[in-house]
Subunit: 360 residues, 2 copies
Amino acid sequence: MPSLDLTMSSIDLTRTICDIDSVSDREGPLADLIEESVSAVPHLRVTRHGDTIVARTELGREQRVVIAGHIDTVPINGNVPTRFETIDGVEYLWGRGTVDMKAGVAVQLKLAAELAEPVADITWIWYDHEEVSEAKNGLNRLSQTSPELLAGDFAILGEPTRSQIEGGCNGNLRAEIRTRGLRAHSARSWVGDNAIHKAAPILDRLAAYEARSVEVDGLVYREGLNAVGITGGIAGNVIPDECMVHVNYRFAPSRSAEEAVAHIHEVFDGFEIEIVDLAAGARPGLDAPIAQHFVAAVGGTPMPKYGWTDVARFSRLGIPAINYGPGDPVKAHADDERVPVEQITDCERGLRAWLTGADS
Amino acid sequence: MPSLDLTMSSIDLTRTICDIDSVSDREGPLADLIEESVSAVPHLRVTRHGDTIVARTELGREQRVVIAGHIDTVPINGNVPTRFETIDGVEYLWGRGTVDMKAGVAVQLKLAAELAEPVADITWIWYDHEEVSEAKNGLNRLSQTSPELLAGDFAILGEPTRSQIEGGCNGNLRAEIRTRGLRAHSARSWVGDNAIHKAAPILDRLAAYEARSVEVDGLVYREGLNAVGITGGIAGNVIPDECMVHVNYRFAPSRSAEEAVAHIHEVFDGFEIEIVDLAAGARPGLDAPIAQHFVAAVGGTPMPKYGWTDVARFSRLGIPAINYGPGDPVKAHADDERVPVEQITDCERGLRAWLTGADS
């Protein structure tokens, strides 16, 4: 496999790395290429951790920013190799990974090689296994084995945001709310105790629930509490003895994971509750001066990120973090995944302006 | 295979026919034996319809009663051959079919051979495929191909009732009640429309529903309206666009199938309703003089039958019908299926008293 030429345009670089298969568990060859190419850059100190590559400047700057992107993709579905296509006058690069998130990685790689004298020290991280389980996630692994490598004053994750700033993320909780009853033949239903009927107040509370909108560091996060599943029943002639409502709570980053759990216990008071998934959100941290410089350099109006992303891992370490990358998140994982090429150059321009101090 | 000796005791006859495998679809050998044995009885005219045997007296009596029992069983599960066992001083015959319903068939076979001069003409029917689908049911088939063979003034089905009279049966309806919404990512739930939340009023109405108790021909039928299943949900991060509540309505035999459907539409007004199963109940008809004689001969207090049984087929033909046979219905299909032998002789005594006019 040829080496990566980090001086080519970020659009060509995106295309090159998209055409290298790096579906989760197969990141090795792309990680090799990245390691090889950034190791050749004199101002970067490079270390490898599995298939995660970390490249740092060590210029003794007062502040350090962490800029990260994952190099794996979801499975290819006939959408590689990439191609350019124009729709309604907009030029796109089409194919797996163009949105989620190799265009972001390409911009980062190009700037990592180019910026020998950034205004802040930079820790670049390209990591594996973002699209699969928490346990395999390269950034998660790094935060446990070498948390010092994630240290910084501000972090940027290159997840697709249409090259607009999306700050922090909502927290995410899933719970199973259960009712119990007593089985009986439905011809003699009065002998039993219908667990599905007992779930009526659970659905009533969900239907009546008014989700909050909460301002955090200047961004307004909209919450949501929803049933995402319901199951109950044994057979057409049996009174059911159990019903389970699967609930998903998305909560603003001003609320801790513990507070979210307490809220669920309050809403579903009197019912059996099992928390099956819990991840705190992340504050956008856009009130810090370094973040203000970033906002000024990139332009546009920062928005909240609703979905949970790896920025929460930085938040957990006390580092404000935002999402910023090319591509519409709606096209992530889609068979017609495609990124407007203009967003790639926009992202490159925004990051460069900030990191070279061109905004000040 | 040896012939059946219809002069042996009804208990021994029960044991003999239980030890002959006649799981649904394998009724042939037992049907052969029954046909052979009743054909040898001078006062019976015997016809065969598949594996259903019909034996009639033709004495020119003013009234005709139909007495029927199915000869198939659910699958054997290590509970054949039969054996006698005594529990807490009660003697049982243990094994597949002893309750459902070869003890009843044995009593019928014995009396068919014995009673040359009953007070009413009798049509004895031993039929196949009761334990499987409606389409295969021998009595259903006969009602369509030779309805004249089911004609009569009163009918008795030998289903297990602990040798007490259980009149008629409730009707049975199942319906799927649906709500529809709009899918969305649960991180942006306000974009969607949650179909599970919309099902709250369905469960509210079910929980608040007060089932009727309805007197029909002197018996009180208790109704029931229950959710027997509920499903909804696509994934833990998706707002669901559909929810289905599976409802079972057991209705008194005074209500027609059409009236039952109308009631369901009334209760779930405003929701999408699909009727997936519908069978009218059967009136007990215990107010007719012939039935009163039967009650007097058998003794005890007639009770309503809650579950749906083949008596409804007679009801559909305008013939009052009751259930009367040895064994506790709770033990039907059970691995420890067993009949108290005293109930076999009780049933024999009750039927004989009535059919010989010993009660008058």
